[in-house]
Symmetry: C2
Subunit: 401 residues, 2 copies
């Protein structure tokens, strides 16, 4: 049967953007392969026994968590999130301002479904998270990427881009940012720029989607206030996640935002998946209620700090440091490397020969870029693998210089 599937433009985009990740995933399973690719937590610190014990909630509240539930989330979990996030949110988020989602990635999907019409623009960091830009394409959006430096997105460039888009007769629907330990760059948006970004959103009457999955994985320095907490105009939707502080397989995230928009996203979610797995929400809640989340967080941070430090040291020891640029991230899962004299495609090929995987830069760029850049994840591989892998990566680089 040959049917018109429609949306071929987005399929093409999807294929182009999705394939490097699938390529990674399958290569990562080859024996002996050291993967710095997928941005995955370390399964060695998953709390298997503690989490398994939380399944008691199936016996105590199973008639609720196995039944259909309200679309906005399992009420006890919403209550926990509201209390737990209050310091970062600058307030106790009210029930009608909070929506539990199937991972924080679904926040972007629901926002796209709710506000994006084909041809609308979304402003993003460039480079940025592959998963959300894939979904933006799939909803028919055009992306306008703003470059980043060590202080995050160069927000001064936004107004000019908005003017250009508007004068071409198109609409900008929102600004997407990952302010802390950005994926893939690892940079953090400075306080000054946070203020400016909010000012720009106010001036141009735009929403901001603040995607903050790495917030709690900070190794050094002080937390900066969230855009959400600094917002006085009901313009920020904040997306959070249990993926990095507990486990991604639960697929539980949330968003906080203005009631009007959240209500709309909730109505749309009803038709998308009815609700996020109540079973998963129940187990996550039980884990949080027992205090495990907060108790284990410091050791999770320590665990990843060690890996970051091992990678930093290995870079200094094994890479041809004159030919590679990178900045030590203050948190999160990633280093972003630039090799001005080496094409990433060439390096990738060499690296795979040496059983090393990373993610090439190009797919992270909403428009152009990434030919000399790539992402290295330090959260997943063991300390031994980081050392061995970076040594081999260094050899590969040197062979190309």
């Amino acid at each position: 049967m040959s049917i018109n599937l429609g949306k071929l433009f987005s399929e093409a985009a999807a294929k182009q953007k999705a394939s490097p990740i699938r390529e990674m995933m399958s290569s990562a399973k080859k024996p002996g392969m050291i993967s710095f690719a997928g941005g995955m937590p370390d399964p060695d610190i998953f709390p298997l026994d503690l989490f398994a014990e939380c399944s008691d909630i199936i016996r105590t509240d199973g008639k609720t968590i196995l039944q259909y539930g309200t679309t906005d989330g399992y009420p006890p979990l919403k209550e926990f999130i509201s209390q737990w996030t209050a310091p970062r949110m600058g307030k106790t988020v009210r029930d009608e301002e909070l929506l539990v989602t199937s991972g924080s990635i679904q926040v972007a999907d629901l926002l796209n479904l709710s506000v994006v019409e084909k041809g609308d623009y979304i402003i993003t960091e460039s480079p940025t998270f592959l998963g959300t830009i894939l979904d933006m394409y799939n909803h028919g959006a055009n992306l306008c990427g703003i470059p980043c430096d060590n202080e995050g997105m160069i927000v001064d460039q936004i107004p000019g881009e908005i003017e250009k888009i508007r004068s071409s007769g198109n609409e900008v629907k929102y600004i997407y940012t990952i302010p802390n330990f950005q994926n893939p760059v690892g940079c953090t948006l400075s306080l000054e720029r946070r203020k400016k970004l909010l000012e720009i959103a106010r001036n141009y009457n735009l929403l901001i989607l603040e995607d903050d999955p790495y917030a709690y994985i900070r190794f050094d320095g002080e937390d900066l206030p969230t855009l959400y907490s600094m917002d006085t105009e009901d313009s920020v939707i904040f997306a959070g996640s249990f993926s990095k502080v507990l486990a991604p397989g639960v697929r539980v995230g949330w968003c906080a935002g203005p009631q009007e928009i959240l209500r709309k996203m909730t109505v749309f979610k009803q038709g998308v998946d009815t609700s996020t797995s109540i079973l998963a929400q129940g187990l996550v809640y039980e884990y949080c209620r027992k205090g495990h989340l907060e108790k284990r967080l410091p050791s999770i941070i320590d665990h990843y700090r060690v890996k970051r430090d091992v990678m930093e040291k290995a870079f200094q020891q094994f890479l041809p440091t004159d030919s590679v640029n990178y900045t030590k991230p203050q948190g999160g899962f990633f280093y972003w490397l630039e090799t001005p004299e080496i094409l990433t495609d060439d390096l990738f090929e060499k690296a795979v020969e040496k059983n090393i995987l990373f993610v090439k830069g190009e797919p992270f760029f909403p428009n152009e870029g990434g030919k000399h850049e790539f992402r290295m994840c330090f959260s997943f591989p063991s300390v031994e693998m980081i050392n061995e892998g970076v040594r081999n990566l260094g050899t590969a680089m040197k062979e190309l210089l």
Copy 2:
């Protein structure tokens, strides 16, 4: 802040369609209320202990089920589904023809996201399931409803409608059907009509979405072959669910379909929610692997058959039978009642006074209809509640005649 949220057309539609359900949900919690509204399984037969024991898989395979997983599903669960559904599918569905989804409702969402452009038409039964038509509206689709009788959708009316839509310059993207124990009508598509429907799809080069969540809840009569098993043209996407045979709170469903379309839906799902909760998939798999699903199915069917029979008897005993039309469903969760002399709005008001809830007919209709019709769910209330509720409903009806 006042921003252009866009898609207001769909918000209006969403509000209109979603509100009766939300109204139900909140009324259902009033003390003393007997609800025949929400199409929920009976939580009294949820296998709390058996399912809690399945959490052992968190200890044995937690490093997998708590980690990010492949978008298409947890491989052991896919393997189980493929084997378990083989008799109904007419073959062992291959891995690349199978996608695990966040409830079967997500199958429609992913298909809409993959193929529907604003203004495209979808052909549905009229009336049909509220959740999917809500999502169709939200993706900008127009709906064309085809009436049903006791043999299901009157498929002979489809070609004329397709011709009309095409001659107006629009496209039909697919035909949506719930062939067994349809929600809300309870009817089952006859074998003759199944054949005709496939012929129509072939002649007009259209996809069919076969939504079959109630398939296994058959009380009387013989299973009819699925459209999927009779399809020779790669035109059918089959959607299945664990909601009715295990529990809806897990939010695990699946679809089987042509590889090309499934691949596209999988790529789109990657941006929507990365994957369905692997934790939930793992627990569902463990439950199935231990044989509980198949072992418990006969008693689940018996449990709901008793309720259907109690409702049938109560109808005969308490309703003014000359003034109400209904057909005994062979399976599923619902009766559909028509009261030619009574407006459903009036009956609803009277019923709520008497602490009875049902779902009004109107929101189920994609175009017009339902002013004298309503849905009664027998799966959720207890036998005592069915008797008491139907008695009060009969009183309410008689007061309006």
